[in-house]
Amino acid sequence: MPPTRSSSTDRAGLFVLSACLVAALLVAFLAVRQQTEQHSREQFEQGTRLVKALSAIPLDGLTPSSGRPNPLAAVLRAHGSADLAFGLVTDPTGRPLAEVTAPGLSPAVQPLSADRPAEWFGHGPMDSGVAGLELMEFHGPLLREGRLEGFVRIAFRAPGMGFNASQLPFVAGLALPVLLLVPLFFFLLRSQLRPLQALSARLETFTTAPPGEASARDVVSRFALFLDAAESRIRELESTRNDSETSVKLLGYKKEKVESALETLPEGVLVLDEGGVAVFANAKVGPLLGADPAGLLQKEPANWAIAPEILGVLAPLLGSQAGAAKHTASYHPGADENRRVSVWALPLFAPRDATRRLGTLLVLRETTDQLLAARARDEFIAHVAHELKTPLANISLYGELLRDEPDLPDETRIEAVNTVCDEAERAAALIGNLLNISRIEAGSIVIERQWVRLGDLLNDCMEHLSHGGRAHGLRLRVDVPPDLPPVELDKDLLRIALNNLLTNAAKYNREKGEVILSAEESDERILISVQDTGIGIPAADLERIFEKFYRSADQEAVSRGGHGLGLYLARQIVEMHQGQIGVVSQPGQGTRVTLSFRKPHVLLRAA
């Protein structure tokens, strides 16, 4: 029942207000009384002093004489007290010699006894002859040479307790702040109390039992119930708060986790909101985009999409007719034709609502490797085609000659047949390398070790080279120590590797140069070297010559043909043996390729 409660509060407020008013009046009353007492004391001192001063004046000085105004009046006027109401000079018998009286007053003067000097000085109340006005009278003797000549008597208006208009500002000043502050506090208190009132009302509803006798015990038990309910409610609220705090922490943690996962991705990831403004970018975005990832946040793509391809990919997604289709493109960052970045733009949908767009995901991936690989592959195919076409063209050329010219001299015919054979072998070697590489890369060649006498193997390989046309005019040497122990290797694979190295050594050699195939052993390793006296390899190419399809751009090397597979295949084969392949080269002087294999006991120890 809040209205009743509210009005009772109002009543209480009214009571407080009245009490405060009374208190204020009391304070004013006490203040006024204190002031009156003060005034009385001052009057007393003033009167005593004045009477003493007057009694020192000879009687003649106080009585009027002809041609002189009443001197008493002058004296009293000179004193200047508004309260001084009456002055009288008498002879010792009490006969008035001079008198001054404030208008409207008729004081009743009691005669003083000349016989009792102890009473000559004194003071006492005096009837003013006006109702409600008290006078305080002071009197003293007038003496001449120790003889009493008369008395001087003065009277002050006694300060009354009645309302004094002159004191109004003081009282008002005292009471007004109190009177103003009290209602202010009251209303302030009331507004503060309102929620408490509501609580109290609810408390009452809660604790009010069905109508009946409400004993003190009932009230206590209801209150206890209320406290229980309140406590459980508080606990509920506390646990809700804890839950929400935990979920906030969990969300923060999840967000961090997602962000750190996005940071570790090899791709650049950029998230745009529905409006196309960048809201997240991982660090990889920077180099791929050529822009500072932090600098593009909160900005639209036009501000950071340096490559027009990105805007092209985003355009269909940022439009109103956004579909779920994937949009992809690629561009050269920094207009560098040798780098390529592929970009995918995907619409982001709410996890459980595929109609609600959350924004756009932009994924950037460096595809320079694929670009270079594709270029290398294209070049390789063109090169292989050329390399295959050349021997075939020669075979065709000589074949036609043999067919159309039945009367060829013998030596021409032999040369033609040899050339056809050589060129067929050249084509076959290229095809063989291609097949071996594809089989090794596919893992279909398994290494089969057997004990090999390196002297025999190396001599075989060199003999194979000498039969081919390439070795014409070159000095070929095999250098193997006679006591070299057998080595466990895959003979067929090693022969392929060595044939490739020897072919290179002959192909890139100078005229009448030399090819040396040698083997030696150290404590732990067997080393096989192929050394030539050819054009050498430029330092810039040394690191890459074992890469698949890699061809030196050196004009001299280019002119001698080659398909960028021989050294790659040799490395593959050596690595299948857990060996190493290395090269040292001096342009214009020659090249030495060394294969290094660990000896079996070393392998065993390592295992």
Binding site: T390, A393, N394, L397, E400, L401, D404, E405, E415, S559
Partner: protein, 126 residues
């Protein structure tokens, strides 16, 4: 004797043509690259030149440019051997006065026919 200059880093085409064109009254000279070809031409211009494109040193394209610059009124027919059928190759070759392309692998029989045709044209023109 008509003189044919074969410019090729590989010896095979020249070798075969020397044998197969001999009975038609052609003598075949060879140059291994463009620079050597220019020396031969300066010394004694051939009646017909056949050149490869890819050669170490001066290639076929550069050779043709040099000849076009020094001899604007082509004094002898040029045949270009190419394994590439790209259009741009044909464009420069035609601009520089080559009259025919020989797709690799070249056929001696076809070259003989082509040369006979060229000779009869020249006779007709003369």
């Amino acid at each position: 004797m008509k003189r044919l200059l074969v410019v090729d880093d590989e010896p095979h085409v020249a070798r075969v043509l020397r044998v197969s064109l001999a009975k038609d009254g052609w003598s075949v000279e060879t140059a291994r690259d463009g620079a050597e070809a220019l020396r031969v031409i300066a010394n004694n211009p051939p009646d017909v030149m056949i050149t490869d494109i890819q050669m170490p040193g001066m290639g076929g394209e550069e050779l043709c440019r040099e000849l076009h610059a020094s001899l604007p009124h082509r004094p002898f027919p040029i045949l270009v051997m190419t394994s590439m059928t790209a259009r741009d190759q044909r464009d420069w070759a035609r601009d520089l006065g080559s009259i025919e392309f020989l797709e690799k692998p070249v056929s001696p029989r076809r070259i003989a026919a082509l040369l006979a045709q060229l000779l009869s044209q020249e006779k007709h023109n003369a």
